[in-house]
Symmetry: C2
Subunit: 264 residues, 2 copies
């Protein structure tokens, strides 16, 4: 089964478009959890146990593991082991490199870590993405419009009659299949989300920027009209509280988003 | 001392603009070296011992370590320990992410691994780069024109009267200091190198694409006219031979580039 099919199936089964970002920060760990590298794994384990029935995917951003070096990557590996088969895993790596090197990155993500999906950065051009797309059964989410303010700097530059992100999107759509190509569009760019959704009607769109970053979930859902969508929530769930009762608070926030992101 | 000053000093002392790419690939390890993860460290150690007097920097591309997961990152950490203080280290990571996450990446590179320099990808905009540039004493090489064919896809798109890479360059130059901002321009794009060199006359330019990728070193040197430059050679040195006598061949290739890249 391809990751695209798996994600579709899981979304229907778990009845949600929710993805949780497992992006731990040591200084934000709840009080009962030791503020060390083992604490991070303990925290991830609690999050997964609390949320796995209410999500369709987990997104792990490598930055939060890489900052602890090899021991951090070990925690990432251990975390992957405890994520149940009933959910999809996304390597949020935003990787990009020249062909030869991109191949090693793709091998890392899909063969070593065995993720279902990855995020990739298109700036280096099509040949830099191909090694990821050569894994025909995996789903690659390419950055189209990111959720930060800086997305205006270059992604939204106008070139003749189109914006850079549209030119990138056109090129991707004419080269890669719906099964293989996912897109990242930040909830903070509603107009661009609408445009991308119209052009790429069947592709999965991964939407970050909800919660701590201020994107409006309701507006995105209205513009999406039941198409393939995966909405990531990170900090607003995992750092819902640092108090003794953090598990209740995390569960409450998960339930809130689960309800909002129900399919039926 | 800033990384910029350190690199300048080392280039004068070692009398070379050569940087060697420590990008090991298991299948290409020379015959006498065991084809396992320990073999990769052994290989790196031999390369460093053979070359350190003839280079000013080592560039480590994370892809070649990440593909072996946490154990690969451990080898990267061990390799950093054996690189002598008389050379500069560059984390070739081409990282980019939104502010909060970019901060964790910058912390990884500059605080955990303690690199002198890093490569970063500008696609996400200025706020995604800032966490790297907040380390005022480090040198960040931003991708301007990469060495792969795909650099034409988006980097060389014309927007009004300028190319995307020029627009990016202008924005970088007006925001970041010469001490803090380095640039990556592939040797395979000679015209673009000339243009960037004219606009950014004092910044360090890191040039990949020599050797296996087919860039012409002589042409780049002529266009550079003794300005701040660092030329990376990877495969053409480290995989010079897989035979028993690989050390001689590596030494020969290093000497060849060392001579070409002498400063005086």
């Amino acid at each position: 089964m391809t990751s695209f099919e798996k994600l579709n199936k899981i979304q229907l089964k778990n009845n949600t478009r929710l993805c949780v970002g497992l992006d731990p920060q040591m200084e934000k760990l709840p009080k009962p959890i030791p503020k060390n590298i083992e604490g991070i794994f303990e925290f991830n384990k609690i999050i997964v146990e609390l949320t796995s029935k209410f999500v369709s995917a987990y997104k792990l951003n490598f930055a939060f593991y890489e900052q602890f070096g090899s021991r951090g990557i070990e925690i990432l590996e251990k975390t992957l082991e405890i994520i149940p088969e009933s959910t999809i895993t996304i390597a949020d790596v935003k990787r990009a490199d020249i062909g030869n090197t991109s191949k090693a990155y793709a091998r890392a993500i899909y063969e070593h870590f065995k993720f279902d999906c990855a995020t990739v950065n298109p700036f280096l051009g099509m040949d830099s993405l191909e090694p990821f797309f050569d894994y025909k059964n995996r789903l690659n989410f390419v950055l189209i419009v990111t959720s930060n303010a800086g997305s205006s700097d270059f992604q939204k530059l106008k070139i003749d009659k189109k914006y850079l992100y549209e030119i990138i999107l056109d090129k991707l759509l004419s080269n890669f299949s719906v099964q293989n190509l996912g897109l990242v569009v930040g909830a903070t760019s509603e107009n661009e989300f609408q445009k991308v959704r119209e052009i790429a009607s069947e592709n999965f769109i991964l939407v970050p920027g909800i919660g701590a970053q201020g994107g409006n979930l309701q507006n995105i859902l209205e513009k999406n009209r039941n198409q393939n969508l995966l909405v990531n929530v990170g900090r607003d769930i995992i750092f819902a509280s640092q108090d003794e009762n953090f598990q209740d608070k995390i569960f409450q926030r998960t339930s809130y988003y689960y309800e909002k992101l129900k399919i039926f």
